[in-house]
């Protein structure tokens, strides 16, 4: 074989190996999703069998027909999650955007300390602040309410959004704000009319991450919510966990359903998310 042909064969082998490795990696990450969806339609006797059945041979849709699509509470759980997710996204972006912009461009004494403080807020796991928040919210009448859940999730979503948005605002030249102020805008007017439209991909990205954070929360949902009607879908899953027996069909069925809205959001938003995460990487 000539040297050229050998090099081509070697490149081809490398490509195949890379492809195989990538497929295996993706399979590892996607397997839990597959297992969840498979378990949602498996007959109960196939769920806990050993060795595990990778591909279901007997199907059982009763949990779907008799519970998920019959009992209105599950729709309520999903609706609650939508409200909390969207509310967290909106509140986080509204609060984080001007904060991130100020930390990016304004001359603030102690800016370094503020940035560190903001970062430190991300170090606290939700479980640490859930109980203190319950005490405070209870006194304020916010426990067992949408606003309470939105505020609780925002305690984590806002600092994260600030960290995400600040580099983005740094990439938008401050001269644009200055030009707008000279043209007749107030400081806030320049931010709203000039900076926000340019920061749309970043704001969108921050909003999506905040939505996912709010949608996927379990700790605050379990701590702050007492009534079934207020439960988001993450806490609603507990309906299928009994004292001695767990309805895995039901758990996986509801989980599959719960996965769909964030999946749709991410699929719809993925182009903007990539733009939001990479924008500002190259200076114009």
């Amino acid at each position: 074989m000539s040297a050229h042909a050998e090099r081509r064969a070697s490149r081809s082998r490398r490509r195949w190996l890379l492809t195989l490795g990538s497929v295996l990696l993706i399979a590892v990450f996607l397997f839990p999703i597959y297992w969840m969806m498979a378990t949602a339609v498996k007959a109960p006797d196939q769920i806990v069998v050993y060795p595990p059945k990778l591909v279901p041979t007997h199907f059982d849709f009763s949990v779907w027909t008799d519970r998920i699509f019959k009992e209105s509470i599950f729709v309520r759980y999903l609706l609650n999650s939508v409200i909390v997710g969207v509310g967290t996204a909106v509140l986080s972006v509204v609060l984080a955007a001007p904060a991130a912009y100020g930390l990016a461009h304004l001359r603030i004494r102690g800016k370094g300390a503020l940035l560190l403080l903001n970062l430190s807020a991300l170090m606290f796991p939700a479980i640490m602040i859930a109980t203190p928040l319950f005490v405070i919210f209870n006194r304020l009448g916010l426990a067992n309410s949408y606003l309470g859940l939105i505020l609780a999730n925002s305690t984590l979503a806002v600092p994260f959004s600030i960290v995400l948005l600040r580099p983005f605002f740094l990439s938008i030249p401050y001269e644009l704000t200055e030009a707008a102020r000279i043209d007749g805008c107030t400081r806030f007017g320049a931010f709203a009319r000039i900076v926000v439209p340019l920061a749309r991909p970043g704001l969108f990205t921050a909003g999506v991450f905040a939505f996912l954070l709010g949608w996927g929360d379990l700790v605050f949902a379990l701590t702050l919510v007492q009534s079934d009607e207020m439960r988001p879908v993450t806490a609603g899953l507990w309906a299928f966990f009994g004292l001695n027996v767990t309805n895995w069909n039901g758990v996986m069925a509801l989980s599959t359903l719960a996965m769909l809205p964030p999946l749709v959001v991410v699929l719809f938003a993925q182009r903007h998310i990539v733009a939001g995460l990479t924008a500002g990487g190259v200076k114009e």
């Binding site: 001359r107 001269e175 200055e178 707008a180 102020r181 000279i182 007749g184 107030t186 340019l198």
Partner: protein, 394 residues
């Protein structure tokens, strides 16, 4: 229309950096005042204080009779052209130009009419629906100008608007800006570090250094009568040649000892600078501009050896090494560093060798080859003297 007055204006930044020090200056109504100086001299800070983008630490700024020191930029009735144009990327050319009028509540019909008129003047009619990223550098610059002009403000502020253009386009736009300013007669503050812009565009030029105003006058006076070493070495390209010259009295004559040579100062030089006689026995800085040298016969001038010739088409630059120490004061080094860091090191090295290279400018008909011995003299009345201690012109 209105002038701009700086009334003992100071700007201190955090960390104790004084960017502008007690600036007292008046930009007259309808005048184009160019602010020039090396990087960090405070010219842009002064401009930004007029715009309201920087707060003055002390003193007052007036536009006309109005004290604007504490006012927001939008309340000052000024318009600014930024170095990087600062066009709004998400808006079309039309919307960029119209934005200021929209913010001031001008009606849609009037906005449309005014934008089209301005775009016609600036040659932007075909680009109104484009976004800034679809324009060339020169087109963006004109949009930035249009955005400023359309507001008919009291004052135009321009912060190095041509620095991002290539040399040819810069020349065209320089002429266009000058023409527009003279037509509109709007008071204009123009910041640049480009000599040619400073000398060709401004009614007057303000030279700044380390936050302080060095001299303000019409360009020709700055060139012919620099107030100090800094202005002398900053204005003019190539720079004024500055060499150390100990002065001695020899009877009635005043003699400059340069290297091993003793060169009597001609009577017209003393008549032009009578105070020079007070510096007998001291070392002064002798300055001669490249274009003010004359080639003379043997024994009549400063001896030197040609080390480089540069033919520039219509003229010739001849670099002559002479036995003399260059002036290496802080001001001169600052100008050298601003041009080229290596130039400053070169000056210090020359001083240590007591040799310096003077740059002379002659017509192309003057032939000189590397290695030739020549003798140079300043044209009558074209020698400048500076006090080495204070830097001031004598």
């Amino acid at each position: 229309m209105a002038g701009v007055t700086f009334d003992r204006v100071t700007k201190d930044f955090d960390g104790g950096v004084r960017a502008v020090a007690e600036l007292e200056l008046e930009v007259r109504d309808g005048e184009l005042m160019v602010f020039v100086g090396p990087s960090g001299c405070g010219k842009t800070t002064a401009l930004r204080m007029v715009a309201g983008l920087e707060d003055a630490s002390d003193g007052d700024i007036r536009i006309g009779e109005r004290v604007v020191t504490q006012l927001d930029p939008r309340e000052r009735d000024i318009a600014m052209v930024f170095q990087n144009y600062a066009l709004y990327p998400h808006m079309t050319v039309f919307d960029n130009i119209a934005f200021g009028l929209k913010m001031h509540g001008v009606k849609r019909v009037e906005i449309d009419e005014r934008v089209r008129r301005i775009s016609g003047i600036l040659g932007l009619d075909d680009f109104l629906s484009r976004k800034p990223r679809q324009l060339s550098g020169g087109q963006r610059q004109r949009v930035a100008m249009g955005r400023a002009i359309i507001r008919e403000p009291h004052v135009f502020l321009m912060d190095e608007p041509l620095s991002n253009l290539d040399a040819r386009l810069r020349g065209q736009m320089r002429a266009e800006i000058s023409r527009i300013q003279r037509e509109l007669e709007t008071t204009t503050m123009y910041v640049t570090h480009d000599q040619v812009e400073a000398m060709t565009m401004g009614h007057r030029v303000a030279v700044m250094r380390k936050g302080q105003l060095q001299q303000v006058d019409v360009p020709q006076v700055l060139f012919d009568s620099p107030a100090n070493l800094f202005v002398a070495s900053f204005i003019g390209s190539p720079s004024m040649n500055l060499i150390q010259a100990p002065l001695e009295r020899d009877g009635d004559e005043l003699v400059a000892r340069i290297g091993e040579q003793r060169l009597p100062l001609p009577p017209e030089a003393i008549a032009r600078n009578p105070r020079v006689a007070d510096f007998a026995g001291r070392v002064v800085a002798l300055g001669i501009r490249p274009e003010h040298f004359e080639l003379v016969g043997a024994g009549e001038g400063l001896r030197g050896t040609v080390v480089l010739t540069e033919a520039l088409g219509s003229e010739r630059l001849i670099h002559v090494e002479v036995e003399a120490s260059p002036v290496v004061t802080d001001e001169v080094l600052e100008v050298a560093v601003d041009t080229d860091v290596a130039a400053a090191e070169g000056l210090k090295w020359e001083a240590s060798q007591r040799r310096t290279v003077v740059v002379t400018r002659f017509g192309v008909e003057v032939a000189a080859n590397v290695g030739d011995s020549v003798e140079l003299r300043a044209a009558p009345g074209k020698a400048y003297f500076f006090d080495l201690e204070t830097g001031r012109a004598i």
